[in-house]
Symmetry: C2
Amino acid sequence: MTGDKQGSQPQTAQESQATSTTRRPVCILGLGLIGGSFMQALTAAGRDVFGYNRSEATVDAASNSGYDASSDLVATLRRAAADDAIIVLATPVTTIEPLLSAIAETAPQCLLTDVISVKQAVAEKVSRLHPHARYVGGHPMAGTSRSGWDACDPTLFTNAMWMVTTSDDTDADDWTAVAELALQVSAIVVPAAPDAHDRAVAAISHVPHLLAADTAAVGAGESNLALRLAAGSFRDGTRVAATEPALQRAMIEANDIAVLNALSEAIDRLVQARDELRDSGSVAALIDDGHRARMAYEEMAARGREPIVGVSVGAPGWASDMRKQAHEGRVWLG
Amino acid sequence: MTGDKQGSQPQTAQESQATSTTRRPVCILGLGLIGGSFMQALTAAGRDVFGYNRSEATVDAASNSGYDASSDLVATLRRAAADDAIIVLATPVTTIEPLLSAIAETAPQCLLTDVISVKQAVAEKVSRLHPHARYVGGHPMAGTSRSGWDACDPTLFTNAMWMVTTSDDTDADDWTAVAELALQVSAIVVPAAPDAHDRAVAAISHVPHLLAADTAAVGAGESNLALRLAAGSFRDGTRVAATEPALQRAMIEANDIAVLNALSEAIDRLVQARDELRDSGSVAALIDDGHRARMAYEEMAARGREPIVGVSVGAPGWASDMRKQAHEGRVWLG
């Protein structure tokens, strides 16, 4: 059933290490949980990696662990330009504008990617501040509620979904170079358009966080009697509401347009259920839709990952073909 | 922290077996998952139990397992009347009207309780069809998605919350007799008014089921890409949507008034979050409220169960005092 999930991954990563693009060094800007874990994972996979972080404390922690880190942004970008490094933006989306301006100024020829959880907002900032960038967006679906260098983990991305954005004008070599970074840290590559990414993440992560918060607030607001009775449906339905509020807000608010659409659908469905219950005593429509949806999820999870097939990166129409197959739930195994 | 949860329970059950009310036999009407498990658990605790079920197949299965079951309702109720048995209604709320009429006709003096997940609707039917009943409502917060005699489990109620309704005119001996049934099967007794019960269960069970269905429907409706990316927040938030729709509907629809109120609050909070996100780019209010609520739940779960203290069942104002303490999240340990 799911036996193919892990077996093919290391092999693919080893194969990709043999290609020339994987010799290029990687320059990571921001050494928080994701950036720092990526630095550790790529180093473990044999890549040359160096990085920048604004805080000296993190730079010291990384350096003391044997990693190549600096708090000098311009020097780091000069080195990236000289080495033809792949630059990875790994800071919150709210802080990337000065970084993009500095990259456009100092390392304009470098291939640029990111690990930020929203894709349209990043693409918009890139096209405004670094309009001639060679940019391919990325988003590893991985994380924990912990933060800082000590929380970094080189296995954080193992079997995680890693979105790599794919547009009709995406350069095939650049796309491959970014996708291979993800494969090298044992992630699963999902090629998707930026807007499709944002809609999907709103639907399966951001709106679920809002509904978990809603479930918790309504339940706990009733009485301590209610909380005392709370069992499985409340416990599981509110688990992610325990995540640090600032982390939840940063993720949801950066994806505001897609969240507004998915949240409006969530509200409409609840209003219809309320009206149906009031007028005919039934909640059939919502409960049936929800049950069918959960069964579809379980079936897809049980079936394992279907690979994208019959697409050669760089061939005519490859990006569109990949997006279509990704839309059907398929992944790229390299 | 939670060391008191299990330690005091068996002792209390043993103590209560020594009292005279616990000698009375128990007559269970309906031998499904809850009724059948209750028959097994009470038998294991040393009570005399007999039961009725409409389907001969279930009666045969129970009889073949050594239990005392019949498909003759009138004969069963005559026996209950003759033995002064405590009668337990253990069928869906939609099917209790003819049973209540038969009890009023054949066994009107017997103490009556139930194990149904809604309390105001049952109380209303009892007062209409059996107005002079000695009735104390009950609701064990236990269950599985399985059904039928084979799914019955005598340990189903261990450490489960068992609501026992408490009104100002509740007879103290009758209340104690029903509460002791729950203690004998190792449940935790929570005394609550019928309306408080229904509101609490709407808030921490029925609305969470509707929000889980909503989360699932919105997520799965976006694309297979979205389902492929679905991770922890979607998986946990939709788990209970996998429950058989008929079971979810029966539970929610029987509690329609309380569900309508709690669902309206859930909708209002989501609408406010949508407006805040649209107008100011923030989801702070909902995320903060949800986080605080989840922390309150975790704190209460970690603290263990606080017992109701200083109330002697039957003393002036005992029922009101118990309800107030239950409203604060306390439980009755006997």
